[in-house]
Structures are given as structure tokens and as C-alpha cells.
């Protein structure tokens, strides 16, 4: 048994243990803390699976942003009354058995791969040169399966609209109810002043490097969002009202440019979402930059939550 195997087993045990405790925890707060740790461990697992792009995304979004969202919610739900009936033990047991069966089925599926494992990796690499990209994942996201990526951006906008649409009519056009620590805690302020410049550099780097190394619009956007949230939480910058004239253009600039380039492909190249030969890389980088911005703003606002205050005149 190699050292890696031991490490992997340890990691898996830890992940599963935290997962179980997250589910079993009585206290919601403890469960959420468990979940954040779990997200970080999971990104290590993704590194072990040779998927650094995913690891970055998982750490940034799966652990970081989701965890933050949950922590904010837990803090507010602390004193909420809930009188849902608890479920009796036999039912729990039966459910557990059923879940175990489903998991077992999935495990069997995982344990029985086809004899010759099919892969698209060679095909991806073969054609990647055309696009001038070095990162195969970015190639899949922005070249071969660009349609999915484009639609997913629309999903993001739509989710944001969904969150906003929950607001009572009285506060429409107002400000998301992000919890702001008005009493400045020195550490938070310090961090909020220190980290953003670094974060923005990191984000730009990630976005830029995404074309040939792991990283890209998602990861860059997430870092950007995290920095923005930090600044807002620390009270250094106000949370913008959704009526701000700069906000919505910023949100859609990524998908719109993506869409425009895609449509231009119908004329300049020979298909929708195809890039004219030779211009692929610059176009993709342009799309990525725009997307980074849009994703950053969208994720930040998603995390900021539903509107709660009317805009001050």
C-alpha cells in the first residue's frame, strides 16, 4: 500500500465521517460548519482525481460560497420556530435501508466499468490545437460544448431573477439583505482592506491562465465575488440596490458577448458558436473576461440574497 493509498483512504473516511455528522448533527450551525470543512476536503479529493479545475471550482463555490450562504441563513434561522413533526424511528430505519440500497446500486455501477473504457480525451486533445487553447477543460467549456456553458449563464441570471422576485413589492428596486457588520471589527476590516487587491489580481490571473492551465472564468468570477462580498460585509462598501444602472449591464455583459460571438460565428465561421479560424483564442479570452465579471457579480448578488430594504432616496 503506497502512501497515496493510505492518504486516499484517510481522506475518504474523513469526508464520509463529516458528511454523516453533517446530516446527524442536532444543531444546524454545527452542520453548516461541518459542511464548509467538507467542501474543502472534497476539493482535495478532486485534486487526487486529477481534476484541478474542478477542485478550484469546488473549493470556491461548493465550499466557500455555499458555506457562506448557509452560515448567513443559519444565523437568521436560529430563532425561527419550526414545529415540523419529527419522523419516527421505524420510518427512519426503512428510509436508511432504501437509501443504502440505492447507494449500493450506484456502487455496483461504479464498480463495473466497461471492459474498454471509452474516452473522449484523445479527440479533445486532437482538436484543441485549432482553438489555440491549452486547457482541455476550457476547450470543452468554450469550444465543444459552448452551448451548455452559454445556457448555464442564462441559468445563473435566471436564478438571480428568481431570488430577486421573492421580494415584497414594497422593497422592489431596493437592496439585498446581506448582513452587514456595521460595528467594524478590526480583523474583518483589516482583511477586507487587505484581501481584495490580492483577490482581484488572483481573479485576473485565474481568468487569464484558464486558457492554458487550470482556472478560468468560473474560478476567477468566484474569487471576485468573494472579495466583493467581503468588502460589503465589512461595511466598507454599500450593498448596491438592484436598480443601480451599472449593475444589470455588468450582469449580462458576459453572456451577451458570448451570444454575440456565437451568432457572429454563423456568418464569419460556419456555425453558431464556432470561432473563425485563427481568432479562436482571442475571442475565447474576451468571452472569459466578460464572463468573469458577470459571474463575479451574479454570484455575489446570489449570495447577498433577497431584497430586504427599499432604496434610500
Amino acid at each position: 500500500m503506497t502512501i497515496f493509498a493510505v492518504f486516499d483512504i484517510g481522506l475518504v473516511v474523513l469526508i464520509l465521517g463529516i458528511a454523516v455528522s453533517t446530516i446527524a448533527a442536532r444543531d444546524a450551525f454545527a452542520a453548516v460548519i461541518g459542511f464548509v470543512v467538507y467542501g474543502l476536503l472534497l476539493s482535495i479529493a478532486w485534486v487526487r482525481l486529477a481534476a484541478v479545475d474542478v477542485a478550484l471550482t469546488e473549493a470556491a463555490i461548493g465550499g466557500g460560497m455555499t458555506g457562506m450562504l448557509m452560515l448567513g441563513a443559519v444565523a437568521r434561522l436560529r430563532f425561527a420556530g419550526g414545529n415540523d413533526i419529527s419522523i419516527s424511528l421505524p420510518v427512519r430505519f426503512a428510509t436508511a435501508v432504501l437509501c443504502a440500497l440505492v447507494a449500493a446500486g450506484l456502487a455496483i455501477a461504479v464498480l463495473s466499468p466497461p471492459d474498454a473504457i471509452p474516452t473522449l480525451a484523445p479527440m479533445v486533445m486532437e482538436n484543441l490545437a485549432q482553438s489555440g487553447l491549452g486547457n482541455p477543460v476550457a476547450g470543452v467549456l468554450f469550444v465543444y460544448r459552448a452551448l451548455d456553458t452559454l445556457l448555464e449563464k442564462v441559468v445563473l441570471i435566471l436564478a438571480l431573477l428568481g431570488v430577486w422576485s421573492l421580494a415584497p413589492d414594497s422593497v422592489w428596486g431596493g437592496i439585498p439583505g446581506l448582513r452587514v457588520y456595521a460595528r467594524r471589527s478590526s480583523t474583518l476590516t483589516f482583511l477586507a482592506q487587505l484581501l481584495p487587491p490580492v483577490g482581484i489580481v488572483v481573479a485576473i490571473y485565474m481568468c487569464w491562465v484558464g486558457a492554458k492551465e487550470p482556472g478560468g472564468a468560473f474560478q476567477g468570477g468566484t474569487v471576485l465575488a468573494a472579495m466583493w462580498l467581503l468588502v460589503m460585509i465589512a461595511g466598507l462598501k454599500r450593498v448596491p440596490s438592484i436598480g443601480q444602472p451599472w449593475l444589470r449591464p455588468l450582469l449580462v455583459v458576459g453572456p451577451v458577448i458570448f451570444l454575440a460571438i456565437g451568432l457572429a460565428g454563423m456568418v464569419l465561421a460556419n456555425a453558431f458558436l464556432a470561432y473563425p479560424p485563427g481568432y479562436a483564442k482571442p475571442l475565447i479570452v474576451a468571452v472569459e473576461v466578460a464572463l468573469t465579471l458577470s459571474i463575479g457579480v451574479a454570484l455575489g448578488l446570489l449570495a447577498a440574497g433577497p431584497l430586504e430594504q427599499a432604496q434610500q432616496q
Binding site: L106, V110, M123, L147, D148, L151, V154, S165, D169, A271
Partner: protein, 510 residues
């Protein structure tokens, strides 16, 4: 299998229309979002009718040629890239949904119209964008040739549908929306596991490629089960319907119409794609009977519970639960007894026609219920008296929708029922015939309850609380008439449902 790696697929003439069908709603969403509520309605007013126009061109194209329209996105053929394909099923469904959505849009002008020059209001802003998003997501579901693209499409659909449920912000609708969202998420995540497993086994998620490569092995089996049940949860097939009645009954009328008529058909359509196109030979008799059994249970439970509802919108919502059941009866009926494969036969045509006629009829009924609610200020069935005299056109539309649900000729429901019954007789599965016929009787039961209350005189003359705009009633009536006259497609393009299906029929699993 080297030959299986190369597809004969190539973009066909007019294939670009498919791109347009997806891009224009997306562009509409983005544009409305950035321009704001003042423009959302106007953008929708331009885009939705042109969407209907587009859908009809695609429909006529497919019907005329009897073959698929294909577009290879980015010029990367599957398995590396994504193909959009419109066969007969997609074309017919696209057309139906475009009609329904346009009618809903007209209906919604009253509730979500924006006056020029006024400040952006929340509900209209959200509604028009969500409506366009639903339209785009449905087109994506119908045209998408790749199972992962379909995943993104149904997520898009869910994210567009959930806010519609709680657009009026009452606590109970928020709760309904939360239930819906959580259960739908469960469904889509199960679907997602399935795509992972299928990719692991075949390194493609393209529907045509998969249908050639697919064979029985553990991962495929598990994937099939998980994906199907996930989609069942999103379709609210009994007994996974917990979210549907409160969500559909609580939403604003225009939203209910879209949710009941359009949204549930999205995940249903993917079930059809999966079992008829991707793996027609996998279901087997036991699985098909399971589908049919759930459908039958849905019919019985949905109808019986509908019979006992005291509120009109809940009754209609439960009727949707029952009608969804009909859609799943086509699986055992389409199963060829000899080859144990799902055949694209009369049963498929019948099932899809049922979906189409339910879409039009149910939208009309929800709109009618919305008008009734607006006029009376409530929708308690026991107190509907006199409403037929106040708004006869609306009640007429409601009744016509009911006629289609019951399956009386010349409605589309009749043709669908006839085809399904024929298939039941041909395959000797008389038990499904009994269920279908009993379902029709139950349906007439609750229609009679509602209509008899509506026709009955009221104690004092009814004073409508609001003046109902004529176009609202007309929109409901137009849809109801569409549904009623749908049976007449038997004289014309009913064959389109089989168009472009030949290939996938010939290449079953080996």
C-alpha cells in the same frame, strides 16, 4: 465500432432555425433583464409571436420533408460537440407550446401589463422574463440532442418555473415554491447521476450515438432507473406529486396555466426521449407495466381526489395529476410484444397527442379559473352560482377544455384515447383500457360538479368585482377551441409525430 463513431449527421438546410429557436428566448431574457421592467413586456410581445412563427416554420418543414432538421452547434459533430435535432415529436410539441405560451401571454396582459412610463414593478418584470425563459427551456428540451444539454435545459425550466409559483408572495405560495424547488432539485440531481454513468460507459451523451451503442450492463441499468425516477419526480407522476397541487393551485392564473400545461411536459418529454429513442429495448415488459401502473394510479387517485376538492384551482391541479397518468399509459401500450422494444407506433402518437391536447385544454381551464377568481374573489366550487351568466364565454371555455379532458370527439383527447385504446386492444392489455375509460368517467364527474354549480342561479345577482377584459376570455376560449378541434389533425398532420423517427427505430440495441 469505428463506424458508430462517425455520424451521418450534418446540419440540414433550415437547421439554423433551431439555433434561432433557442437563441431568441435567451436573448430576450438577457435583453429584458438589462433594459428592465418597462421593456420586458414589449420584448416579449415581439419575441413570443415570432417564436410561434418560427415553430410553425419548423413544423411545416418537418411535416413536408418527413425528416429531421439537424444543426451541429459549433460545427463539432457529436460525440465531441452538441447537435440540435427536430424530429416530428419535437416539432409538434414546440408548436403546441408556442401556441399555449402566446395565449398565456395575451391572457397575462391584464395582470402583468406594464403601463408606459411607470416605474419598474416586480411582478411584471419577473413574469415576462420567466415566461420567455420557460419558452426557451422548452425549446431546448425539445431540440437538445445531448442528455447533458437536456439537464441544463430542465434546470433552466425549474429555475424559471419556481419563482412563478410564488409571484404573489403569499406565505403559502412561498411554501409551495420551496417544496417544488426542493423536490425538483432532487429529481434533477438523480438525472445527473444517470448522465454521469452513461458517459462513463459510452463516452457520449448524444442521443443518436447512445441509441446505437447502448446495451445492457449494470451502469446503464442504474442510470436508466435513476434518471427516469428523477424525471418522474419533476413530472409529478403519482406518487411523487406532492409538490404539484399546492404549486399549481397557488400560482397566479397565467402562471398556473404555464406550469400545468407546459412545464411538466418538459421532463415528460425527456422520459419519452430516453425510452423511445435512447434505449427502446431496455424497458421490458415489467418496467413498462410499472410505468403503466403508476400512470393508472395517478389517474385513479388524481381523479378521485379532484372529485372531492372544494376549490376550483385545486380541482384543476389534481386533474393535472390524473392527466399526467394518461401520458404514462403509452409505455406499456407501445411495447412490442415480440421484440420487447418500445415501438414508435399508434400508442406513441396517442400519448403525445394526449400531452398536446392536455396542454391546450388545461391552460384554457386554468385561465378560466383565473377569470372566475377575479370575478368572484374566490374559487370555492360550492359558491360558483350565477357565474355562468356573468361570464358565459369563460365558462364555455372551461367546459370545452373539460370536453377534451373527458375525451369526447372531436377533441384531441378523443383521438388520443382512441389511439391508446386501439393499442390496448391490439396488445391485449385490456386493463389499461379499463383504467382509461374509468378515468374519462371520473373526469366527467368533476366537470359536471363544477359546471352544474357554475350554471346554477345565484341567490342575488352577481356583481363582478372586476371587469374582465374581453381578450382574456378570448385567449382562454381560443385555447379551448384549439383543444376541441385538435382531433381534426387526424385529417392532416397527425403523422408528423412519427416523422424522422425511422432511423432510431431501426437501430435498437443489439
Amino acid at each position: 465500432m469505428p463506424e458508430a463513431n462517425v455520424l451521418p449527421d450534418a446540419t440540414t438546410t433550415d437547421g439554423a432555425l433551431l439555433v434561432l429557436a433557442i437563441v431568441s428566448p435567451a436573448a430576450g431574457v438577457l435583453l429584458s433583464f438589462v433594459l428592465g421592467g418597462q421593456y420586458a413586456e414589449r420584448i416579449a410581445a415581439v419575441l413570443l409571436p415570432s417564436g410561434l412563427f418560427l415553430a410553425s416554420i419548423i413544423f411545416v418543414d418537418v411535416w413536408r420533408s418527413g425528416d429531421r432538421l439537424i444543426y451541429i452547434v459549433g460545427d463539432w459533430t457529436p460525440p465531441l460537440g452538441i447537435a440540435l435535432r427536430a424530429d416530428g415529436l419535437s416539432a409538434a410539441m414546440m408548436m403546441t407550446m408556442a401556441i399555449v405560451i402566446c395565449a398565456v401571454a395575451i391572457f397575462a396582459l391584464a395582470d402583468f401589463g406594464t403601463r408606459a412610463g411607470s416605474a419598474e414593478a416586480r411582478a411584471p418584470f419577473a413574469f415576462w422574463i420567466l415566461l420567455m425563459a420557460i419558452w426557451g427551456a422548452m425549446n431546448m428540451v425539445f431540440l437538445g440532442g445531448d442528455l447533458f444539454t437536456l439537464y441544463v435545459a430542465i434546470e433552466l425550466l425549474t429555475f424559471a418555473a419556481v419563482p412563478l409559483v410564488c409571484l404573489d408572495g403569499r406565505a403559502e405560495t412561498l411554501q409551495a415554491a420551496l417544496r417544488y424547488l426542493l423536490f425538483a432539485l432532487l429529481g434533477s440531481i438523480l438525472y445527473l447521476v444517470g448522465t454521469a454513468l452513461l458517459y462513463g460507459s459510452y463516452a457520449t451523451l448524444d442521443i443518436v450515438l447512445l441509441s446505437r451503442r447502448i446495451h445492457m450492463e449494470p451502469a446503464t441499468l442504474v442510470a436508466a432507473a435513476l434518471m427516469t425516477i428523477g424525471l418522474f419526480a419533476k413530472t409529478a407522476l403519482f406518487p411523487l406529486h406532492l409538490w404539484l397541487p399546492p404549486a399549481h393551485a397557488g400560482a397566479p392564473a397565467a402562471a398556473s396555466a404555464v406550469l400545468s400545461a407546459v412545464v411538466v411536459k418538459g421532463s415528460f418529454f425527456i422520459v419519452v426521449r430516453l425510452w423511445f429513442d435512447v434505449m427502446p429495448g431496455m424497458l421490458g415488459p415489467a418496467g413498462a407495466q410499472l410505468f403503466g401502473g403508476l400512470g393508472a394510479a395517478a389517474i385513479v387517485f388524481g381523479s378521485v381526489v379532484a372529485l372531492q376538492q372544494q376549490r376550483l384551482k385545486l380541482l384543476i391541479a389534481y386533474s393535472t395529476v390524473a392527466q399526467i397518468g394518461y401520458l404514462f399509459l403509452m409505455f406499456p401500450l407501445a411495447l412490442d410484444t415480440v421484440s420487447a422494444e418500445l415501438q414508435s407506433s399508434g400508442a406513441l402518437t396517442g400519448g403525445m397527442l394526449q400531452a398536446i391536447s392536455h396542454a391546450t385544454a388545461k391552460a384554457a381551464m386554468f385561465m378560466a379559473a383565473g377569470i372566475i377568481y377575479a370575478v368572484l374573489g374566490h374559487d370555492r366550487i360550492a359558491e360558483l352560482g350565477g357565474v355562468a351568466r356573468a361570464i358565459p364565454m369563460t365558462i364555455f371555455a372551461f367546459a370545452l377544455g373539460g370536453v377534451s379532458l373527458i375525451g369526447l370527439p372531436p377533441s384531441g383527447g378523443f383521438l388520443a384515447k382512441w389511439l391508446l385504446l386501439e393499442a390496448a386492444v391490439a396488445t391485449g392489455q385490456w386493463w389499461w383500457a379499463i383504467v382509461m375509460l374509468a378515468g374519462g368517467l371520473f373526469t366527467s364527474g368533476y366537470m359536471f360538479i363544477v359546471l352544474s354549480r357554475a350554471v346554477a342561479p345565484s341567490g342575488e345577482p352577481l356583481k363582478p368585482r372586476v371587469a374582465v377584459p374581453r381578450y382574456q376570455e378570448a385567449a382562454a376560449l381560443a385555447l379551448a377551441l384549439t383543444s376541441l378541434l385538435l382531433g381534426l389533425v387526424a385529417f392532416g398532420p397527425v403523422d408528423i409525430l412519427q416523422a424522422g423517427r425511422l432511423e432510431s427505430m431501426l437501430v435498437g440495441p443489439r
